[in-house]
């Protein structure tokens, strides 16, 4: 009698386990393609023109920004990534090419200027836009929960936390090098925070850039991204 009960219990347990396993969905990972935002052939000649530096006015106030050659670093990063991960031919505009305006809206409308840059560099596509990089001191007092080792109760206390924030905002303007017509305007933004007050600004800048890398490249070429979905067993 006892033996039969035990066998029945085991059968029920087995059925419950099997039913539970079948009913609960499972998370699976997929790689989803991201179409390039610009329908290019993939072997065009792309000219990298200067970008408007939005942080220029703040440079005088923030000593740490003076150490960062934003234009140079961004151009170097973009050129390197495009050359490494695409088949485009990347050229830099000559040093004497100066932007006709420091206003982004007007820059986007300067069709004749962009056509002339395209002709000068013999490029089918010209890239410009604006760059904004900010280093923010986010140190301050924060409320923290703590459990007293004496009475075991939970209290709240104010602690001084040293943090630095790095904000990078890129507006991309892409022009047709033949007609000067604007093909695309897009914005990429990233914010990183480190737990140190004197965090290195160049390191922060590259952390921002590497996290935006996929999005930036996706403007020119197809990329893919990982996604999670649920599937059922029954």
């Amino acid at each position: 009698m006892f033996r039969r009960t035990r066998v029945s219990a085991a059968v029920l347990l087995a059925l419950a386990v099997a039913a539970g396993a079948a009913a609960s969905p499972e998370e699976v990972k997929l790689r989803l393609p991201l179409k390039a935002k610009l329908p290019l052939r993939g072997n065009e000649r792309i000219a990298l023109a200067p970008f408007i530096l939005v942080t220029d006015a703040e440079k005088a106030r923030d000593k740490r920004l003076q150490n960062v050659d934003l234009q140079g670093e961004f151009h170097r990063f973009l050129k390197k990534q495009l050359e490494k991960k695409t088949k485009f031919e990347i050229v830099e505009t000559p040093a004497d090419v100066k932007l006709p305006t420091q206003n982004l809206t007007e820059l986007a409308r300067a069709q004749e200027f962009w056509a002339s840059v395209g002709a000068q560099t013999n490029s089918e596509v010209v890239v410009s836009g604006s760059l904004e990089f900010k280093v923010e001191d986010r140190s301050g007092y924060k409320t923290e929960e703590y459990t007293s080792p004496i009475d075991g109760r939970t209290y709240y206390r104010q602690v001084y936390v040293e943090q630095t924030g790095f904000l990078f905002d890129i507006v991309f303007l892409v022009f047709d090098g033949r007609t000067g017509e604007r093909l695309l305007q897009d914005e990429f933004k990233d914010f990183r925070q480190t737990s140190s007050r004197k965090a290195d600004e160049l390191q922060g800048l590259f952390e921002n850039l590497f996290s935006l890398e996929n999005q930036i490249l996706n403007t020119f070429v197809a990329r893919d991204r990982e996604a999670e979905r649920y599937i059922f067993k029954d």
């Binding site: 033996r3 035990r6 066998v7 085991a10 059968v11 347990l13 087995a14 059925l15 386990v17 099997a18 396993a21 079948a22 969905p25 499972e26 699976v28 997929l30 790689r31 989803l32 393609p33 991201l34 179409k35 935002k37 610009l38 329908p39 290019l40 052939r41 065009e44 089918e124 596509v125 892409v174 047709d176 090098g177 033949r178 093909l183 695309l184 897009d186 996604a227 999670e228 979905r229 649920y230 599937i231 059922f232 067993k233 029954d234």
Partner: protein
């Protein structure tokens, strides 16, 4: 002796319930097989199995959801959208299907968004 027999029986039942592909004529068998191959990344085979499951049980919301995921993985987004909609129509309160659909909708919107026009492309 009896105890070990009980454990062996339990193991066989669990293992049998988890891996058996007997009765391919049943929708559940196709679903199970589809999910197992999907977890190995064989999404075309998985899609085929889920289609078979739907043929056998057209009102199974889970099968429509799974087929949508497999179609998504194969890049057939328009059909995936239709299958997600069908799955939600059959089981509108299923949170997992709703979550899948929301994630897919976010991706699909940005995927189909037309931006810019071709430069230098005839």
């Amino acid at each position: 002796m009896n105890r070990s027999r009980t454990w062996i029986l339990t193991f066989l039942l669990v293992a049998g319930g988890c891996t058996s592909y007997n009765h391919p004529e049943r929708a559940e068998t196709q679903m199970k097989f589809g999910t197992d191959v999907a977890k190995k990344g064989l999404w075309r085979e998985a899609a085929f199995r889920y289609e078979q499951a739907i043929t056998k049980a057209p009102d199974n919301a889970h099968a429509h959801n799974n087929l949508a995921v497999a179609l998504e993985a194969n890049g057939d987004f328009a059909r995936a959208l239709a299958e997600y909609k069908k799955a939600l129509e059959l089981d509108p309160n299923n949170n997992y299907i709703r979550r899948n659909y929301a994630r897919f909708a976010e991706f699909y919107t940005s995927y189909t968004k037309t931006t810019g026009k071709a430069a230098g492309v005839p």
